[in-house]
Symmetry: C2
Subunit: 157 residues, 2 copies
């Protein structure tokens, strides 16, 4: 139900949060998150226009988060690239329904509201800090990283 674009954007931001405040290039992000590089650059453009990341051109440039991980929520990332559109008015355009939704669309909108709320309550810092057997994006705890090569071994699909 979530688009590929959302999945990719969250992976990228999650990676950047773990590296903050260091800038990373599109190549580095693509390798770490296993997202097609060419497509990732478009997704990052969306995140940039949405004010989630900052991109710096030129030698030594790259992508950084605009906010610190504890101030950035999943919702902001999602809304930057593929907004959760709440149901504002009757999709059938029925005049009588006006502002109030019918019971059907009220339930659909409630579901969207729940997703919105739970995404609003998750910060990137929280995700990185959560004790878990699985570190986001990695087969192992990630080292600081400078030169950076392809990410560890990986099988399965």
């Amino acid at each position: 139900m979530f688009s590929q674009t959302v999945e990719y954007a969250l992976r990228a931001v999650c990676f950047l949060a773990g590296q903050a405040p260091v800038a990373r290039t599109t190549d580095q992000i693509a390798a770490a998150t296993r997202v097609p590089k060419a497509y990732l650059s478009k997704v990052l453009q969306g995140l940039s226009r949405g004010g989630v990341v900052h991109s710096q051109r030129g030698l030594g440039g790259g992508i950084t988060l605009v906010k610190t991980p504890d101030q950035l929520t999943i919702l902001e990332v999602v809304n930057a690239v593929d907004p959760i559109c709440r149901i504002q008015e009757c999709p059938l355009g029925l005049a009588a329904h006006g502002v109030r939704l019918c019971p059907l669309h009220k339930r659909m909108d409630n579901a969207l509201a729940q997703v919105e709320a739970s995404f609003r309550n998750s910060t990137l810092a929280e995700i990185l800090a959560e004790p878990s057997e699985s570190i986001p994006l990695c087969d192992f705890p990630m080292p600081p990283m400078p030169p950076m090569q392809a990410v560890a071994t990986c099988e399965g699909g």
Copy 2:
């Protein structure tokens, strides 16, 4: 975030529930729900294969619900045409993540689980019975209906 197909399927089933146990033709459903007739017939085929509706060919045929409205949930309708796919395993295919999801994907899956749960808890009967200023699909309480012509006046979009 919900596809057009889901929206159309829910409208159709909602309408049929209000008419149950009378059969309605694709033309009648299309007019009442304002769904393009040709596309609706495809959506209904999906609902039929999914066991949500039964279609009867021939003179006097039409579409009916397989279950009574109090036994049919929104979730069953949604899953018949555009299933909610929970995140079962790490989308990156990281071996180390195995069965357990990382904190990021755990949160995404939780959101899906919430939607699933709230759809599982809504029956069509409940939706029709809910006191509301807006009756599902209609500008006014729907009469029994036989010959049936276009549905009332309607403006806005």
